[in-house]
Each structure stands twice: as C-alpha cells, then as structure tokens.
C-alpha cells in the first residue's frame, strides 16, 4: 500500500501556491506553523531560525494576569514523547503586548496569540485587550491546557462550555479565531461542532494529553506539578484520529498538531483533513524542522503536479460529501 498518491503526470513541475486561508482574512503564506509553548514569542531562537518564512507563529499561552507557572521540574522525556507542565508561565496580556507586539508588528509572519484563562470573563478580557493591537494577527483559544488547576481544560471537554467561551470571545473581537481542542474530550466531534456554531474561524487539534512520570530514585512523581501534557510522536496517532473525526463534522479549516516531525507526518494530517499543521515538540530536537518542512512540502507537491496543498486535504476521509456528515466515522474506544 502506498502512503503517497502516485504522480498525476510526468509533466513539468508546476508552481505551487502554498498559501492557506484560515478564515476572516488570516491567510498564511504556507501551512506550516509553530505550536504554542514550543516557540516562545518568536524571538528566542534568534538567527538560528528565519521566523519570517514560517506560515505563522502561535505564541506562548497568554493569560490576563502574569503567571509564574508550575514548580520544577517541568519537563521530562518519555517514550517517543515528552511531558511538560509549564503551567502557563507568562507575563500577562499587557506584558506580552508591551514586550513583543511592537516587534511582531514589523514582521511578515503573522503571530497568533494563544489565549488561556480560568473563566469566560478572563478569556474575553484578554481578547478584548488584544483586539486591534498592531502585531496581533489572530487568536488561538487555548481551552485545552491540562496543566492548570481551574478552568483550562474543562472548556474543551464539554460542548456547551466550549460553545459558551467561543461565543463570548467571538463577540469581543473581529480577529481571526482558532479554537484549540483537547484529545481528552469523550466526543471531540460534538465539541468541534459546538465551536464552529459559536463562530470560530478555525479549529486546531490537538493540545497535549495529560500524563505523568515517576522518579524511580525518589519514588514520587517526577514533575513538580505531578501531571504534565504528553506531546511528540507518541501523541500523533491520537491527534490524527481527532483531526479525522473533526474533519467529518465541520466545514471550517482544521490545523493539525501532534508529533509532526517531517513531511510524512504532515501529509498524514493533510490526508486526515487538516488544512495546515503546527510543529511543536520536534522544534526542540531540531529548530529548523518547520522551515525544512515548508521546502519539502513545496517540492513534494510540485513533483506530483499539485498546485496547492488544498488538493490533498481530506484525501483519507471515508467519502467525499457535499455536506459534512452529522455522525461521521466514529471512534469506539
């Protein structure tokens, strides 16, 4: 079985338009973004990564007030993955706007601010302050962080709560709005549908999945916060499943995230229905993975005569329908 479509023709390579429209005017030059929490505010890698070539940058989760985050240790490697429990350490929305937005405003690459909160009012207030600020290209609503006590993840587990926070934020801003799903929801399709109906422009899937590690010598949880979010290749099959399910029930674009470390991973997500992808944990091993992925994707599409990645989006979905299925192919645990 071949995982890649055969070349359409032996004709000369065509020019590829990599751009992808995530809605409400958020058009990325290419579908490769960097995931929130793995790329700071876009400034940390300095000259090592030419950030201007990226499709977009999702910055570290931003809350209304500054947060000092969770006690250390906060990260550990696990089989084919890692756990993190940063706990949304950030300088608060005003600090982010002061410190970074002026630089972002001069950048070609759109910066999407990842927004987290403990209550609907928190989310709305953060977004209200981001609205209209130069340098802020969009919002990624983080309703799925497993590393904070109150709120956070709860919004992504329940369709009604997800709809409530999405609708409230939608009313507060005209910025492009992406809502980030959790793989922990028992039925992500219901959550995704609720988010779409509440006015989100796109959905990103997925955030990390809660896990833990034990310190063998001390016989206690290794991470200072006990639990951490699992990311990396270990998460990929789960994230793919979420994208595949969600793609069957919503019409808004989906941004695939989870263990993407190269072209074949990205193609899997496109086939499963993602219009764009985010590279996260792989950046730690190799900061230039996202840039290489852009080049490899372009070459791969050109070689096969595709003019745009849109032509392969959803290729693996069960049947092409005019309207999304109400039910979709179901995940049966």
């Amino acid at each position: 079985m071949s995982r890649t479509a055969p070349p359409r023709s032996m004709a000369a390579e065509v020019a590829v338009d990599l751009s992808v429209d995530l809605g409400r005017g958020l058009v990325l030059r290419n579908p490769v973004m960097v995931a929130s929490g793995t790329f700071g505010y876009g400034v940390e890698y300095g000259d090592v990564v030419d950030v201007q070539r990226l499709g977009a940058i999702c910055c570290k989760g931003t809350t209304l007030r500054p947060r000092i985050g969770n006690p250390p240790p906060r990260v550990t490697e696990t089989p084919a993955g890692m756990l993190n429990s940063i706990g949304l350490q950030n300088p608060g929305v005003d600090g982010v706007l002061d410190k970074y937005a002026p630089r972002w405003a001069g950048w070609q690459v759109p910066v999407i601010v990842n927004v987290a909160g403990e209550s609907v009012a928190d989310y709305v207030e953060v977004v209200r302050r981001l609205d209209g600020q130069p340098g802020v290209a969009g919002i990624e609503l983080n309703i799925s962080c497993p590393n904070v006590g109150k709120g956070g993840l709860q919004f992504a587990l329940d369709p009604d709560a997800a709809a409530e926070v999405t609708a409230a934020v939608r009313a507060a801003t005209d910025l492009p709005l992406i809502v980030k799903l959790s793989p922990a929801a028992s039925d992500v399709r219901a959550v995704a549908r609720a988010i779409e109906r509440a006015g989100a422009d796109a959905i990103s899937a997925t955030n990390t999945l809660s896990g833990m590690a034990i310190d063998q010598h001390r016989r206690r949880p290794l991470l200072g916060a006990t639990y951490g979010g699992l990311s990396g290749p270990a998460l990929k099959p789960i994230a793919l499943r979420v994208v595949y399910e969600v793609a069957q029930v919503v019409e808004i674009p989906i941004v695939g995230i989870g263990g993407i470390g190269g072209l074949t991973d990205a193609l899997d997500f496109f086939y499963a229905g993602a219009a764009a992808v985010q590279v996260g944990t792989a950046v730690f091993a190799d900061p230039v993975v996202p840039l290489r992925l852009i080049d490899e994707l372009e070459a791969w599409l050109a070689e096969r005569g595709y003019g745009t990645p849109r032509e392969i989006v959803g290729a693996a979905l069960p049947a092409r329908r005019d309207r999304p299925s109400v039910k979709g192919v179901e995940y049966r645990p």
Partner: protein
C-alpha cells in the same frame, strides 16, 4: 548561538561509565565562555525527542576543539557513548550565561561534585591562562569515581574528598571549604543540589566581607556603598562570593519553552537563559530540596 555540525575526534571512557568526547568545533571554541553549554542532537526524533545539554567541559580556541564530559545514564548518553571518531553530531550553542570572573580576583576556589566537574572544569583553564591561582575541591562517592588529576592543568591545586573515605579526605567535599574560604576571592561550584545548597549556606551573607568585595575598587579604595546590582545581572553574579552552575531538565535550551526553570529570589529563572550560572544568593534553595 548557532546550529553546527561537530566531528567527534576522540572518545574515551576515562572512568567506569564516564566519557570524555573531543569534538572539532572551531566556531564554538572561539565563541564559548566559561560556564556555557551546548545542546546536543540525539539521533532519532521518533524515539528521543529532546536534545541533551552538556557543559562545555573545555574549549580551546587555538585547536578549535571542545570537550564534553558525561555519564551514561539513559538512551541518549548510551548513543553518545557508541559514537566513533569521524562521526558527526549537531550542536546548538554556545548557550546560557557563564561564570563572571572579577578582574581583581587572584584566588579561585572551584568546588565540584561528581559530574559537576564538567561545569567548572573550563574555569581551571581560564584561571591558569590568566595567571590566577586555582584550588579545585572535588567530591565523589568513592575512589572509583575520582576525576583523574592528569586531566587537569598541572598548575591546579587539587583536593579530593570521598563519601566512603576510600580516597582523599573522608567526608563531604563541602567540609573542605571552610579551611579555604578566607583565601578565595571567588568561589564557583557545580554538582548535586544538596552540595550546592550546603555551599550556599556557607556563603550566605559572606559576600559582603569576603571575596572581591574585600579587594576594594579599581583605584584601590574600598568600594563603600556600591551601586546596587540589578537582580540576575552579571554584576550581581560577580558580587556574589559563590556562583553556582545549575542543572535542570531542559526542552528547547534557548528560553522559549520555560521547561527548565528553577525558583530564584526574584521569580522563576530559566536555567538555559538566565543560567546555568547563578549567584548563589539569588536561588531559593529550600524550593529545590
């Protein structure tokens, strides 16, 4: 900071399970400062998703060589130990902020526990190159883990303590410190947290009356009422009698992921960016226990 390919020139298991790697990395050797580190690429992203941070054990500008010192503790270091000369690995570096040597200090006290030797080893070279006197106190569990003196510059005075008394002073390396602390203008340490915390206890409150503070200003006057050093600044580290090189599980190593923080007196500190070297009095030692 750069991503660069480094060729392994020499690999040597100089103690059971402990290795010394020499790499050709001219740019790195030129740019590095004592106390900085590199983030080494592990071979396979699908299996090992994180790089491994290593102190620049030594670096030599003239030969363009750098060395790292590691113990095999897991899959990443197992892979490293299997590398053969001629093979290449990718390094990100130099990273972090290094030790602050005061231009006035003549007597350097280095304290290393076990693998902590890698954290202060480059200081021995720097001290010798700048005609400072250097005393290195080294602590190990037993004689089998004692860092060989032949790997140190001959000018370095070297005292060893072992926990089981099988070599050198019987006891903790920190017990050797009091007899030398008055001599030392500055003290630099790397090792287990318990060792560093004990040292910090020794050093606490002594920065004012010991070390470079006692040496007076550049014009010979005592520096009465010095301008305050901003928290976390190089000046704060230089003013602190004891500087420590800290370790923490690390993600990106460039300050982006906030994975490697420890708690400082003025909030969370990224070991990769604000560190790995800190003024001992700017760390909340109780939080690390």
């Amino acid at each position: 900071m750069k991503l660069l390919e480094a060729e392994l020139l020499e690999t040597r298991q100089f103690l059971p399970g402990q290795w010394l790697h020499t790499y050709a990395a001219p740019w790195l050797a030129t740019k590095a400062r004592v106390g900085q580190f590199v983030h080494l690429r592990t071979p396979d992203y699908s299996g090992l998703v994180l790089r491994r941070p290593f102190s620049l054990n030594t670096f030599d500008r003239s030969s363009g060589q750098v060395t790292i010192h590691f113990r095999v503790t897991g899959k990443g270091t197992e892979w490293l130990a299997r590398m053969r000369p001629g093979e290449r690995t990718e390094m990100l570096g130099p990273l972090g902020r290094g030790f602050e040597l005061d231009p006035r200090s003549r007597h350097l006290l280095l304290v290393a526990g076990g693998l902590g030797m890698a954290g202060v080893r480059a200081l021995a070279d720097e001290a010798v190159a700048t005609q400072r006197r250097v005393l290195l106190l080294f602590g190990a569990r037993d004689a089998s883990e004692v860092y060989p003196s032949t790997l140190l510059p001959p000018e370095v005075e070297y005292e060893v303590a072992t926990d089981d008394g099988s070599f050198g002073f019987p006891g903790r390396v920190t017990e050797l410190v009091p007899r030398h602390e008055a001599w030392a203008d500055q003290c630099f340490a790397c090792g287990p947290v318990a060792m560093l915390a004990a040292l910090a206890g020794v050093a606490r409150g002594r920065s004012d009356r010991m070390g470079v503070a006692r040496l007076g200003g550049r014009d010979g006057r005592r520096s009465a009422g010095p301008r305050p050093a901003p928290a976390g600044s190089p000046l704060a580290r230089r003013r602190s009698w004891l500087q420590v090189s800290m370790e923490q599980n690390m993600g990106c190593a460039v300050g982006a992921c906030l994975g490697c923080v420890i708690i400082g007196t003025h909030g969370p500190q990224r070991v990769c960016r604000e560190g790995p070297v800190f003024a001992a009095d700017e760390i909340e030692w109780e939080q690390l226990a």
